[in-house]
Symmetry: C2
Subunit: 153 residues, 2 copies
């Protein structure tokens, strides 16, 4: 099922209480024109490899957990296509949650925030709090894969 | 280090004693124009994922072992790009060994044989036994990846 999300730029980290901050780094073994996207991801002390192919209805996706040794062994294959960030949660009104990514490394200075909604109506009527910036939901340059390959837009 | 090998067609399995037959199946998650080759392989009861990128001096290759559950979960991603074969060894003269692949599934009827040499001179002076067929060492259509995608040439 497709997630209903909106994505916003932040100019800096909000001055509110954040929850459950996790270090994430992810890199892409595949390059942008490949038929399959292969992502390595470390989230805290868990390690994953994800395969995505196709788009829309024929999209298929598979994720496996790998061990730390294999992660470190394969990580160099993602050189030049890596993202590092700290992910935190911030509670919003109406039970919504802002998932905030503070990027580091080559993307230091970039802050993105995603909010997931229960349905399309809720997504459309959502009023962003004042600390949210530009809505970049439809801007492909802010996808992690694009940021990894091309840097900050 | 590059292996020095020659590859030959066989018209059928040789009528000599074979050693250590192993079931192999392998499939490619990547497609032929992708920047990285990703191969899944089951060899007996061991399971591997191999990444290959580039050619010649800048080629890099990485292999990890994966568990059976992950292998079965990922195997459908190789649909349409799969090879199944039985691999056996046959002793030759001068301590050489023929590694014989009897293909099955969509490649049934194909038999290939590889011999690995200690150096280039030995490879060039090697006299194939009578049961060897055409030398296809330089014929890319007999690479497993090509066979998987395109079938028997």
């Amino acid at each position: 099922m497709k997630e209903i999300e909106r994505k916003f730029l932040l100019t800096k980290m909000p001055e509110i209480a954040l929850q459950s901050t996790t270090s994430i780094r992810q890199g892409y073994i595949s390059k942008s024109l490949d038929s399959v996207e292969i992502r390595l991801r470390q989230k805290g002390d868990a390690f994953f490899m994800t395969f995505k192919r196709g788009q829309g209805l024929v999209r298929n996706e598979a994720e496996i957990r790998i061990d730390e040794t294999n992660f470190h062994y394969l990580w160099p294959l993602t050189q030049g296509r890596q993202v590092e960030k700290q992910r935190s949660q911030a509670p919003l009104e109406n039970g919504l949650v802002a998932e905030i990514d503070e990027f580091s490394g080559g993307l230091a200075g970039l802050f993105l925030c995603e909010v997931e909604f229960g349905d399309q109506a809720q997504a459309e009527t959502f009023v962003p709090p004042p600390w949210f910036g530009l809505d970049v939901t439809e801007d492909g340059r802010y996808k992690n894969k694009s940021l990894a390959e091309n840097g900050i837009p």
